[in-house]
């Protein structure tokens, strides 16, 4: 193709036991936003790492603007004009924006000049950012702007963005898209990776779909439905979670005027959070991470003790009880961070099943562990939730993110909770696993449990919640029925894009 900026031809990369990329060929044209779609494990990240010089392909060639392109390290990729914004930010909380950007540069200009350039770029692309601010005080959306500006300072010809909207409010997404459209108008190409198909339909003009390491299709997202794309990704029909219908049972968990400082530095204190959930109800709590979600989870799980009356379970004050006592009563939680919080990475799945299952599943007697029973419990989780692993003796670390998440959620659901609190249940999980997890949560609610889902994914919350509330700056909004809420209303509940949405965006 003549106007291709980057051409991939026959890229193949095999790891022991798995072919991550197999004979991948496609073109990214100059000035287009090109979507890369696929489930977790489809080979997207290997492909992107190949383009960014982090991985070398076994076979295949790349051509960038007519020149052979084979970067052996990211520095070479950046020199050739390829930049990447990662899903996880690599920023130092205690430093300023300008200092963080300096750290990533090879020949940093004096801080004063750099600050001027940052202001210049942020004005030009409508990305409001003060170079003198401390990163620890920034919202997730603002942190992402730091990463984007860090890329833009290199004047890239191709920018790779990995799941850029997973941490943004609707308004922030809007600002980001304006920026990306401006870049496109200037001739910069963007390779855009996302699970959110509606966003891709709004932004991209071309999409390449990967499954099991191979290109299985291309399409124009503007004229293809999200469902069609999802089914191409999965290679089958997609199941939409089915709701059993609204329930108005008795209140099982009540949080009253919960205020607590964060146990972490740069954490968010909870301020007068109050809500009640009923039997059979799914309560969705939306909001951008870092607005008190982790603290709320800690206060509900018992890892952070609060005043007795602040958390009440079936009318009984439990604020001072620890995680084990709350589990015994029937209040179970699944934290966001799978590795190292919800599960111990270096321990086997059997041991991880024991981690929270000891009390309710009777896996101990007089303090002695019943390994046989723990193993059976782990096997039932693996079987019941389709966790792909050779067996319960494997470590949690050896599982992919989606599989471990299924294990973690399954572990709690199988313990028949009266209340289950989950944080970001489908974060970084592919479409079919996410659908399975959501369905499992709905099934749990239809059996009479109260489910609280804390998530940044508003589509997810709208799909499964009966009522919705937003957590912003440690404060919880009033609970509203989820049906009939518009995206704009939700955006306002989330506190907007931190008061910056109109700044500087021209054209």
């Amino acid at each position: 193709m003549k106007d291709a900026l980057l051409s991939l031809r026959g890229l193949t990369k095999a790891y022991p036991g798995v072919v991550a990329n197999s004979d991948i060929s496609f073109d990214i044209r100059a000035g287009e936003v090109h979507a890369l779609l696929g489930e977790n494990g489809a080979g997207k990240s290997t492909l992107v790492k190949t383009i960014y010089g982090l991985v070398r392909p076994d076979h295949g060639t790349m051509t960038l603007a007519g020149q052979p392109y084979a970067p052996h390290e990211p520095r070479a990729a950046r020199a050739a004009g390829v930049a990447m914004v990662f899903q996880h930010f690599s920023l130092f909380d205690a430093l300023t924006v300008a200092e963080n950007i300096t750290l990533g540069m090879e020949n940093p200009p004096p801080l004063k000049d750099l600050s001027a350039r940052i202001r210049d770029v942020s004005d030009r692309y409508g990305l409001p950012l003060d170079p003198a601010r401390i990163v620890g005080d920034l919202s997730a959306g603002e942190r992402q702007r730091v990463e984007i500006i860090r890329c833009l300072l290199q004047d890239p010809r191709l920018m790779i963005m990995d799941e850029p909207t997973s941490v943004l409010t609707p308004q922030e997404v809007h600002i980001l898209f304006e920026t990306l459209r401006k870049l496109r108008a200037q001739g910069t190409s963007i390779l855009y990776i996302s699970h959110k198909l509606e966003e891709i339909r709004a932004l991209c003009e071309h999409a390449t779909i990967l499954r099991l390491g191979k290109v299985v299709g291309t399409c124009d997202p503007r004229v293809t439905s999200a469902r069609q794309m999802a089914e191409q990704m999965v290679g089958g029909t997609l199941q939409t979670p089915a709701r059993a219908g609204n329930v108005t049972g008795e209140v099982v968990l009540e949080v009253k005027d919960l205020s607590a400082p964060s146990p972490r530095a740069f954490g968010m204190a909870l301020k007068s959070v109050s809500f009640a959930v009923r039997k059979g109800e799914v309560l969705g709590i939306g909001g951008v991470a870092g607005n008190g979600q982790d603290e709320l989870l800690l206060a509900l799980s018992g890892e952070m003790r609060v005043a007795d009356g602040m958390v009440q379970f079936k009318g009984q004050p439990v604020g001072r009880l620890g995680p084990t006592e709350r589990r015994r009563l029937g209040l179970l939680t699944a934290p966001e961070e799978r590795m190292g919080h919800a599960a111990a990475p270096d321990m086997s799945l059997t041991e991880n099943a024991l981690l929270t299952g000891a009390v309710r599943e009777g896996l101990t007697a007089n303090g002695f562990l019943n390994w046989g029973k723990a193993r059976t419990f782990a096997e039932s989780i693996i079987k019941g939730f389709d966790v792909r692993t050779p067996g319960p003796q494997n470590t949690a670390r050896s599982l992919s993110g989606g599989n471990l998440q299924k294990f973690v959620i399954g572990r709690e659901i199988l313990q028949r909770p009266d209340v289950l609190v989950v944080n970001q249940p489908t974060w970084g999980v592919d479409a079919s696993a996410a659908a399975a997890i959501r369905q499992a949560l709905l099934d749990l609610a239809s059996k009479g449990a109260a489910v609280i889902v804390v998530s940044q994914d508003l589509d997810e919350l709208m799909e499964i919640s009966d009522r919705f509330a937003a957590l912003n700056e440690g404060r919880l909004s009033a609970l509203r029925p989820a049906q009939g809420l518009t995206v704009d209303e939700i955006g306002l509940m989330l506190g907007g894009a931190h008061g910056m949405e109109v700044a500087h965006v021209a054209g």
Binding site: H72, P323, A358
Partner: protein, 360 residues
Amino acid sequence: MIRLEKRAQPSRGWTIATPIIAVVATMIAGGLMFAALGKDPVEAIRTIFWDPLFGPFASYARPQLLVKAGPLILIAIGLSFGFKAGIWNIGAEGQYIMGALTGAATALAFYPAEWWIIFPLAILAGAVGGFLWAMIPAVLKVRFGTNEILVSLMLVYVAQSLLAAAALGWLRNPEGMGFPGSRNLAQWAATANPELIAGTGMHWGVVMAFLSVIVAYVILSRHMLGFSIRVTGQSPRAAAFAGVNPGRLVIVCMGVSGALAGMAGLFEVTGPAGQISIDFNVGYGFTAIIVAFLGRLHPVGILLAGLLMALTYIGGEMAQLSLGLPAAAIQLFQGMLLFFLLAVDVLTNYRIRAARREVA
């Protein structure tokens, strides 16, 4: 360029192989050092590793093996509980001294009675003494967040001063003609901790060490406490989520290591040492740290590591006597062992890849 690649699972084979490789590497590097000192390396290695067991003076050296290994194992087993959980009790030497002091003092309060109850009582008092001494850093850590490494280490020097004060003052033998040191507990039937089977070096402390290996094995592999310890060591946040109370765990782990170290002190003062003296402690509490790691914090590993360490002690002494090797060379040799162990330890969790540079 070589590159380290993290394994998905810790390698079981390497877990067993690394201590053996470390011992062999120590022999090679140590041999080179001995050669540089002008000694025959083969003879030196043989004197250290072979002669204590099978050489001409083996009948004297062999019992010493258990005498030396006993306290090392007993203390190291206690330390391994905390080390597995990331709780670093470096002051076992102090707890060992305090156990000996409290145990000896309790027993001597009954002197010259000949009741059988005195010895068990002294063991209990020794354990309590070590336990309480370990509670100082433990409680300070839980209550005020102090660093248990520093506090426990500093308390070793406090314990040494108390030991000196006791040997010179309040525990001094009234019939000792003014010499420092307590009455001889090994020669007093009520507290004597004799060799149980002639020619083996086996005394009650060694029995207790073996018992502790078995109990520790059961606790670590089959009990909730052992599970809590392992989770805490591997991922503290997962442990908190599981409901482990970190403060309680600090108290339990420090307490267990203190009590076992204290007991080891009591068995030593009633047996091989015989009395409280100014230089009663010879560093078992510090060497036990090496033993714990050499044994990979596993009870059976610690048992073997304790025996190996005792062997290098006895063999080292023999090498000093027969070959005229300096004491510092022997200590260096023992230090090498830990160094090599930690160095090859990386292979358990990582594999080495000779690779082109793929900079992240």
